[in-house]
């Protein structure tokens, strides 16, 4: 079963992240690298991407002629996806365990963060055999 683990943050969180101390930044980078290695070694890794900062994030809708109409004004409270991991595991429980590992990554201000991680199952195209 595939699951996607998503980490989101408000613009103010992104700004705060840019001001972390060197030690905090380095701890975070080391943690993310180790997590990614762990996923790969366990055989659960499918895909993972980090997203660029939301400075230029746009909402796009099609205009009457199908042309793109962009809007970049968001409420302050809007959460932006910062990155995701897609994993292939045996059970939801395993997915939650990986998400919890991720959530325990080092945070700013010396905290051991407990970043919320949204976990969702990914639909598959082939059906359950029902055996």
């Amino acid at each position: 079963m595939k699951y996607i683990l998503m980490m989101s943050a408000r613009k103010s969180d992104f700004e705060a992240y840019a001001k972390w101390s060197r030690q905090e930044l380095e701890a975070n980078v080391a943690f993310m690298r180790a997590f990614s290695r762990e996923l790969k070694e366990s055989g659960a890794f499918v895909a993972s991407e980090g997203l660029a900062w939301p400075n230029d994030a746009k909402l796009v809708r099609a205009g009457s002629n199908g042309e793109p109409i962009t809007d970049g004004v968001f409420p302050e409270s809007k959460e932006f996806l910062a990155g995701y991991w897609i994993i292939d595991v045996e059970s939801a429980k395993q997915a939650y365990a990986f998400a919890a590992r991720l959530s325990r990554g080092p945070g700013g201000g010396g905290s051991t963060g407990s970043m919320p991680v949204e976990v969702r199952q990914v639909l598959s195209s082939h059906g359950d055999l029902g055996l």
Binding site: W20, R22, L25, E26, V29, A30, R33, A52, W53
Partner: protein, 430 residues
Amino acid sequence: MNGQTADTPLEHLLRELAPQVLGVITRRFRDFSAAEDAVQEALLAAFRQWPHDGMPESPRGWLIHVASRRMTDMVRSELARRERENTVAEAEPAVEPAVIEADMDPDDTLILLFMCCHPALSASSAIALTLRAVGGLTTAEIANAFMVPESTMAQRISRAKQSIRASRVPFLAPTAQERKERLPAVLHILYLIFSEGYASSIGEQLQRLDLAREAIRLTRHARALLPEDAEVAGLLALMLLTDARQAARTGPGGELIPLDKQDRNLWDRAEIAEGTELLRFALSKGVAGLYQLQAAIAAVHDEAARAEDTDWPQILALYELLRTMAPSPLVTLNHAIAVAMVDGPASGLEKLKALDNDARLAGHYRLDAVRAHLFEMLGDVEKAVEHYRAAATGTTNLPEQNYLLTQAARLEEACNRQSVQSASQNREHS
């Protein structure tokens, strides 16, 4: 890294043979697109069979035979409009070496290179097709290198071939005139393959194919085919002189290490020597082209035993030349760095002002990154931190983002420590 993930001898052999075989098949069947598919299948069959059955007596003959049979099958099945019953046969085919040798043409690889780097193709299509048809890489390997699904890469290659078919380029050696006109496009594609490899070689991507090394291999091919061309030599020199620093570019935690902080003992001396020799040859040919100038700049950096020994006046002179020959905002940016190193950071910052109104670079993170660096040189910590952070939020490269944020944090820390120190000193004095 640094090209340490060596090919197996089999991979190496097949990659070298691929363009030769493709040349023969295209010549014989006059259909580049189908020939390219047939050769790819023959390569895959060789990958599967040779390790078990042993190497055939004439590997090239085997590949030509299997690919030819595949072509005949395709033609036949198309004619009969019925489903093929035999795909590529698994048996060892008979080989007629005399016929095969007669079919070989040393120009084939050159024709293929010009064909794959055809101006009708988008850069990404040309890159993919060149790696497959000239480089002999499989679709899976190319997809892996660009981190896209294999089906996406297969589609990109197939669309590229459709464009070539539609453009009706004949499979002929380019005339001297065509060669002159289209060589820049060919070199540009090789350069793009190299930069893709070089930029993405940061971090833990060990499973990826080393595109920088592939680009060097292809450019060596081009150099062997056009030995008197100064820009081909210049491009190869640029690649070697840049690739030589590969091992020193990242630290143990995958972090970026800038040129002035690199451990120069890790630089590849053999690559530097070869690049320098090529550059000497290229420059002896007269008017220096863009790649030669960039290679010359790389060579000046590589020659310095320590960062502080860098001959910045010479680099500045080379950027002045580059700025006249091919003005671009990025060249202006690098020129400003050289000015700062020669005349001081204030002069460099002054030069950067010219870029503020340049729409091509407006808000580009690199402008912020250079400003940050020059403000740091100047001792203006507050502005340096501000620009490092602005650059970090603008870059789309993760290791670079980490590097820029760490720079900001490091500066701020040093600054705080200093003010704490001076505050305590003041207390002692009072």
